[in-house]
């Protein structure tokens, strides 16, 4: 079975997440490296209080994902494909051999900081269940007040979509979609209008930063966020990493591309099981595991069994 690693994005964090990582040398090395680069203990970033900050969340998520990936790698496990949701794409880029962890950490620190500063208050995101993308888009087009901009953002499943914009604007659209057949809506606990054009300045600064770093050719195919294509060239991956913050994440399509490429075993790096649940629903005949839910040792066992079969 072809194997893909999935790296979760914001929303999957929880206090103490770095303590959930497997205890091994490979993990310790990444945690130490992170602390060195940050000039303070990386454990300072996963407290309940710190996770109120987008920047801290992103640093903790990247470190967690890469550390778990390294723990699998030390045992000789290599995925056939990688993908990451939003900031998760930076962890995926490390796993694909495109970015070094130290560069990824610097970029993520910058990205999180810029996102935090862009709209200190009054902006956020909402989620809509049970409505297809073209219906949601037509409702936004029809009801959006130009003073309260709102954009369709992430497509996590065909019927699970997010919108980003001003808090008032997002709430207005959520009220409208409720009247137009949505099954369920809610505001997300996010203080940035992620993955929409409101963050294009962040994309520009990331592009600049990414151009100062040398990216390597992926040794494992990497699926982009913005257009859900397999990307084989460092330039395409650079652009996707920069653009993604101001464009919608086509997660359902990205994971479907993996499935159509023959992936039948998905393993979600820690923390959480958000991507596992989406993949389970989208691909009933695939095997989907998360390190958080199934435990590192069980994932390792399945990986080794799969490797022997190949």
């Amino acid at each position: 079975m072809r194997l893909a690693y999935l790296f979760p994005g914001q929303g999957s964090q929880r206090p103490g997440l770095l303590h959930e990582l497997p205890k091994c040398e490979a993990v310790e090395e990444i945690l130490e490296e992170a602390s060195d680069l940050l000039n303070e203990s990386v454990y300072n970033f996963h407290s309940e209080e710190m996770l109120g900050s987008t920047k801290a969340v992103q640093i903790a998520l990247l470190t967690s994902g890469v550390a778990a990936y390294k723990a699998f790698e030390i045992d000789g496990n290599k995925p056939d494909f990688v993908a990451g949701h939003s900031v998760g794409a930076f962890g995926a880029a490390v796993a694909a051999g495109v970015l070094e962890f130290k560069d990824a950490l610097k970029l993520v620190e910058l990205r999180g900081g810029l996102m935090e500063q862009a709209y200190p208050e009054g902006y956020g995101m909402g989620v809509v269940l049970g409505l297809e993308a073209h219906r949601l888009q037509s409702i936004i087009t029809k009801f959006m007040d130009e003073k309260q901009p709102v954009f369709m953002s992430n497509q996590n499943a065909p019927d699970q979509l997010t919108i980003s914009g001003t808090l008032q604007g997002v709430q207005n659209i959520l009220d409208e979609v409720q009247k137009h057949g949505a099954r369920c809506t809610s505001m997300l606990k996010v203080s940035t209008p992620s993955h929409c054009p409101l963050l294009s300045s962040v994309s520009n600064e990331l592009t600049e930063a990414l151009h100062k770093i040398s990216l390597s050719k992926p040794v494992v195919p990497f699926v982009g966020n913005r257009r859900a294509r397999l990307l084989f060239h460092p330039d395409d991956i650079r652009q996707d990493l920069a653009d993604s913050v101001s464009t919608a994440v086509q997660w359902h399509d990205a994971s479907t591309v993996l499935y159509e490429n023959g992936v039948r075993l998905f393993i979600e790096m820690p923390p959480g099981n958000v991507l596992t649940r989406l993949a389970n629903r989208a691909f009933p005949d695939a095997k989907v595991l998360s390190v958080t839910e199934n435990g590192f040792d069980d994932c390792l066992y399945i990986l080794e069994k799969n490797r022997r079969k190949k």
């Binding site: 019927d159 099954r183 257009r227 397999l230 591309v257 159509e260 490429n261 023959g262």
Partner: protein
């Protein structure tokens, strides 16, 4: 004299070119056998840029060893291939385009790769000739899409290149014939080379090369439906179909789609239909794959004959043991034939019944969704009224509505759907997604699966619409709206209108067919699980592991 001789046309250019290609690989092959580990190298020499290559891959059997090998050739030497495939199913089918080995495709179905297809069309990595029905694609292999190379799969070959394809013969003979008799090159992957074949399905003189695959060709158990998943609503629909269509029109020959609702019909034949005294009167002759859910009906003596498009994994022994029903060779194993069974399903049966994801108010249906490019299965062939038909059967004549002295009958084309799909998505829509897909991909026509004017009946959990009786488009729309439940289309109809349509016989509700909704229970199913199907088969049916729960 010299002058005219110089101008004399050579009439063997195709054969000459073929001989030349074959001579280049002479040292790499052992007679007609290509060594397994040399397949990529040999393909790079036998196939030339721009060739039209027909690659066997349909929704069941796949020439998987050859497709994987073709995806490994060097695109610097071999490029711009024009692929012809009934089904684009495997990842490497599209890797051919991603890697630049091929650039154009003519096909029928791409469901398992429908997102990548849409992306690659958008990215201009692939251009589509046309999306065909199966019969159209097979037909064009002999007209204007004649292959230069055929890559196909067989179970066994002997040292003369004779092939045994057995129950999974499917489309192999058709693809081979199109290449072999136009001086194309035929390469066959086989599971094994043997001294003696059970029987010859394809003669060796049609075959240029065989290669023993490193593992058996891929075969998908596509037609297995676990009765455990059949719902009470599907049973209610099945009861309506049996009573309101099969019995009413005396349907004797037919094809079923692969949905759970038609599986429910199959499992109600020995129970509900038998209680109505219909055995021997309906459902006798089938163009159908050996569906495991047909076992109880076969065992109960309902089925006189069944011709198959392909086999079904695990049904081999059962089929062999029921020789009176299936098309079987002298050796004892079944022979399928996709081309002939599609044609039979198009021309020779009374009825086709299948399901869809979307239907508009006029009855046009499509399984296409936005951002995906999937094509069709067998439905558009069998789900239409072939205008040239002559032979009359009770069902065909029964739905003739004209008094004209030249009037003719009609094929019954039935669509069975629930008004909403899972996830609250309405099946009845004002406009098909297929129209958007046409715009997005630049197709010449919208990929409609079954055209509304071919549909004679629509069945939902609400009732049956007898569309063939509608004498105007307005009536047709009303009849569809009447059974479209609480979808936007359904809400256009008043209750007065509903009663009028019932009186006119344009629609029938369960009670009009003497069916009580409360009787539609799983206890009516002749088998409620795969395990019970195995019991019915006397242990002859051997379901694949994924269907075994015991």
């Amino acid at each position: 004299m010299m002058h005219t001789e110089n101008l004399k046309r050579v009439w063997t250019t195709r054969l000459d070119a073929k001989e030349k290609r074959k001579s280049i690989v002479r040292n790499l092959v052992d007679g007609l056998v290509i060594p397994t580990d040399r397949i990529v190298e040999v393909m790079e020499k036998l196939i030339r840029p721009g060739d039209r290559v027909v690659l066997e891959g349909n929704n069941q059997k796949q020439a998987s060893f050859l497709s994987e090998a073709l995806a490994q050739v060097n695109p610097k030497h071999l490029f711009d291939l024009h692929m012809i495939m009934s089904s684009i199913s495997r990842p490497e089918h599209l890797d051919l385009f991603e890697r630049g080995i091929a650039n154009k495709v003519d096909f029928a179905y791409a469901g398992p790769q429908s997102l990548r297809m849409a992306q690659m069309v958008e990215d201009r990595k692939l251009s589509i000739g046309e999306i065909h029905t199966y019969i159209e694609l097979y037909g064009r292999l002999f007209i204007d899409l004649i292959p230069s190379v055929a890559l196909v799969a067989a179970d066994k070959a002997d040292r003369f290149g004779n092939l045994y394809t057995g129950p999974n013969t499917e489309e192999t003979p058709t693809l081979v014939e199109a290449a072999a008799f136009r001086d194309g090159i035929v390469i066959v992957q086989v599971n094994e080379l043997t001294d003696e074949l059970p029987r010859v399905d394809i003669p060796g003189s049609w075959v240029d090369y065989v290669v023993v695959a490193d593992e058996p060709y891929e075969l998908e158990p596509l037609f297995t439906r676990d009765p455990r998943h059949i719902t009470d609503i599907q049973i209610l629909q099945a009861m309506m179909i049996i009573r309101g269509i099969y019995q009413k029109h005396e349907v004797q020959s037919l094809n079923h789609g692969i949905g759970y609702n038609t599986a429910a019909v199959e499992l109600l034949l020995p129970t509900y239909a038998e209680s109505l005294g219909l055995k021997g009167k309906i459902c006798k002759h089938w163009a159908l794959n050996p569906h495991p859910t047909m076992i109880p009906a076969i065992e109960s003596g309902w089925v006189e004959s069944m011709h198959c498009f392909g086999g079904e994994v695990g049904m081999e022994k059962y089929v062999e043991a029921r020789r009176d029903v299936f098309f079987t060779g002298a050796d004892g194993s079944m022979r399928s034939n996709r081309t002939l069974s599609q044609m039979a399903g198009q021309y020779a049966v009374d009825l086709f019944i299948g399901s869809t994801l979307q239907m508009d108010g006029a009855g046009n249906s499509s399984t296409v969704t936005r951002g995906r490019l999937a094509g069709y299965g067998g439905a558009p062939n069998m789900g239409h009224d072939p205008g040239g038909r002559r032979h009359s059967t009770p069902a065909w004549l029964n739905i003739m509505t004209s008094e004209d002295s030249l009037a003719r009958g009609k094929k019954l084309v039935v669509q069975v759907v629930e008004t909403f799909q899972t996830g609250n998505k309405p099946v009845f829509v004002e406009s098909l997604d297929a129209i958007e897909v046409k715009k997005d991909t630049g197709l010449a026509i919208a990929p409609v699966m079954i055209y509304g004017d071919d549909v004679t009946h629509v069945v939902t959990e609400e009732g049956i619409a007898y569309l063939y009786k509608a004498d105007s488009m307005e009536k047709r729309r009303e009849a569809i709206a009447a059974i479209a439940g609480v979808t936007t289309i359904g809400q256009t109809l008043t209750s007065n209108k509903l009663d009028q349509l019932r009186q006119e016989g344009l629609i029938a509700l369960p009670e009009d067919l003497q069916i009580r909704r409360s009787d539609a229970k799983r206890s009516l199913l002749a088998a409620k699980s795969v395990e019970e199907l195995v019991e019915w088969s006397d242990g002859l049916y051997e379901p694949p592991a994924k269907f075994r729960s015991w």
